[in-house]
Symmetry: C2
Subunit: 381 residues, 2 copies
């Protein structure tokens, strides 16, 4: 039995913009309602996903901000925050809330451009451990670099494997009009020229800083063919400090979230046709594939080399361009993944439409595996 | 039918402390689990309520921080933020999540002491409107001063009425060992000597800045006499800017949340024996009583003058000392209100135990009425 149905989806372009946070949220909400054929009057509750509204620009209490975009409704509404997994967690929470509310709007939104670099690095670092890691220089690129180094040690993963992830996702983003790097061609020469960020991660191993918003309307009841069933929703957490973990080549929270989503959906990893995963760094896409059980530990790089995860491969990964090239508007990212999967499942993905899209999966991570939300959408029949 | 049962409650003292945010959360969690006779292994999911962890001390992604306090559990967990209503909203969300999770832990936590005054004023102001109000000087004391002035104009409310609220709540806090101002005697002379903060609100019309945490364990099933039924839970929102409202002597979100909670609980305002309301400023307690339908608009001050809302009156309000004297550890406040009502309903409130405590209500507000969560607890029989 589906946990709920996505009735409508909307998304702004991810990337730098002068639009305000409320304006971005409004644009995505209007698009999602329009896509669903609904109006604000059809909504029973709403959830806002956002990560850095407070530290970046002094905006908290965003449920009240969004309430002001829907004058006179006075709906139940709240904000969910779980670092970069805020969006996926909000979708999970929306499904839980269908116990009381018939139709729930989820809007994820983030503004990051215009914040000075050092301040933004500090703010993004709030998703990591304050007491042990951040003070030791383990900011996010450094943390994922550590994961990459461990993965290389354990499985022989190479920088070339990571480059292939970057090239693939940039190639995909060229077909996605809402991607941060839409129409930007990235070549091997560009990658070679990229500065070292945190060894072995270079510039093109890292996702950009994006503004943007995405919204989905979720209901307990389908409204016809364009409604997409959410078959399974899994959520799990882990301790925030890497020093509290025993494994650094895999995220237990992701493995748990996937297992929970598969069980609820009554599907296995082999039933999944395509996935949108949280590639904040190229190594994260490699780890995601293994955590989701799409292959055995250490096997993801072979699939990447063989083109299996390309748009025309047997298991396309991040056909949207992913976070790497599609952009990472933090609070919006997990909601944007659901947008993408719904578009593919409906056959509405335009130039990037996949040939086989019956069951799709989203994988949204907060911090360095501190939170993971996984959703399985589509039709199991 | 109850929406859920509170199996256990725990709370730290509210007030300045050198304890860290995770340490405060842990103290409340251990107390709540102990009170419920449960261990971490009995919990299926958790929600963290917090407002200023990011701006105050660079801590976001608090669900992962709390996950680290429960090693190896990898539970589903997330953070809810709705300004000063974060705690009440988290309780509402926990009830929704019982659709999937059997037993849910809610922990509200906040650290505010040690933040320089101007910075703290700015951070607290993030719950208000960034675009219109804050830039015009409408910080929180000013906003509630405006509400007070309008209430005085409309209903003849006096500064003496507000002083009576302050004296009552300070008198109550003297009997509450976990109150910010436990054992502090406040006299009329103290009130008279208080500086003007924002006319007509003086120092003793304003709640203090508190650190603290509170936790509750909520389940779909009772575990016996000490389990307290949550009969109704209501949540509503309003636009964030006062310029977007037509009424300033009442909060529509509070009226809606109360109506929703009463309807779900199948009780009316006259069935309620005692209440814990969001008296961030003394005028807020006056408005709360009217919004909750405990009296007609403009009638609250008469009840206050007649002693009806005193500890030995017919309708005790804020027997804990409220936010005013019990303290306001923002993210913990709404959870702490549930703690207090449960203690009273069980007859475990010690020196401050009320004579008649069968049905109690909590009222938790975010911003200047931008969010309100209301809960009705007890036994309707």
């Amino acid at each position: 039995m589906p946990q709920g149905y996505v009735l409508g989806v909307g998304k702004t372009r991810f990337g730098p913009t002068s639009k305000s946070l409320p304006a971005l949220a409004q644009e995505a909400i209007i698009a999602a309602l329009g896509d669903a054929g609904l109006t604000v009057g059809d909504i029973d509750a709403f959830i806002v996903a956002n990560y850095l509204g407070g530290p970046n620009e002094g905006r908290l209490h965003l449920n009240s901000v969004v309430a002001g975009l829907m004058p006179g409704t006075h709906l139940p509404g709240w904000r969910v925050e779980a670092a970069c997994a805020s969006g996926g967690v909000a979708v999970h929470d929306a499904l839980l809330s269908l116990s009381r509310y018939g139709t729930v709007l989820v809007v994820g939104v983030e503004r990051m451009s215009g914040i000075p670099g050092m301040q933004l690095t500090r703010n993004i670092g709030m998703a990591g451990d304050l007491d042990l890691d951040q003070g030791a220089g383990l900011n996010f690129p450094a943390s994922y670099a550590l994961v990459a180094q461990r993965h290389m040690d354990a499985f022989g993963t190479t920088t070339r494997d990571l480059e292939l992830v970057s090239l693939k996702n940039h190639d995909n983003a060229r077909l996605n009009p809402l991607a941060h790097f839409y129409h930007k061609t990235v070549t091997q020469a560009d990658i070679d020229a990229g500065v070292m960020v945190a060894s072995p991660l270079r510039l093109f191993d890292c996702c950009p800083v994006s503004d943007g918003a995405a919204a989905v309307v979720i209901s307990g009841a389908s409204r016809g063919d364009r409604s997409i069933p959410i078959l399974g929703s899994g959520l799990s957490t882990d301790a925030i400090s890497l020093s509290q973990r025993t494994v650094h080549t895999s995220f237990i929270a992701a493995r748990n979230a996937a297992a929970s989503a598969y069980e609820q959906a009554s599907v296995s990893a082999s039933d999944v046709d395509f996935v949108e995963v949280h590639d904040c760094f190229t190594i994260a896409e490699v780890v995601a594939m293994e955590d989701l059980g799409l292959c055995s530990p250490g096997e993801a790089t072979r699939l990447i080399r063989d083109g299996v995860t390309s748009r025309d491969g047997a298991l396309p990964v991040n056909a949207s361009g992913g976070l790497k090239a599609g952009g990472h508007a933090i609070g919006a990212t997990g909601v944007g993944q659901v947008y993408e999967v719904v578009k593919q499942l409906r056959g509405e993905a335009g130039d990037r439409q996949l040939a086989k899209a019956r069951i799709g999966l989203t994988h949204n991570v907060g911090g360095v595996g501190g939170t993971c939300a996984v959703h399985v959408l589509g039709s199991a029949s």
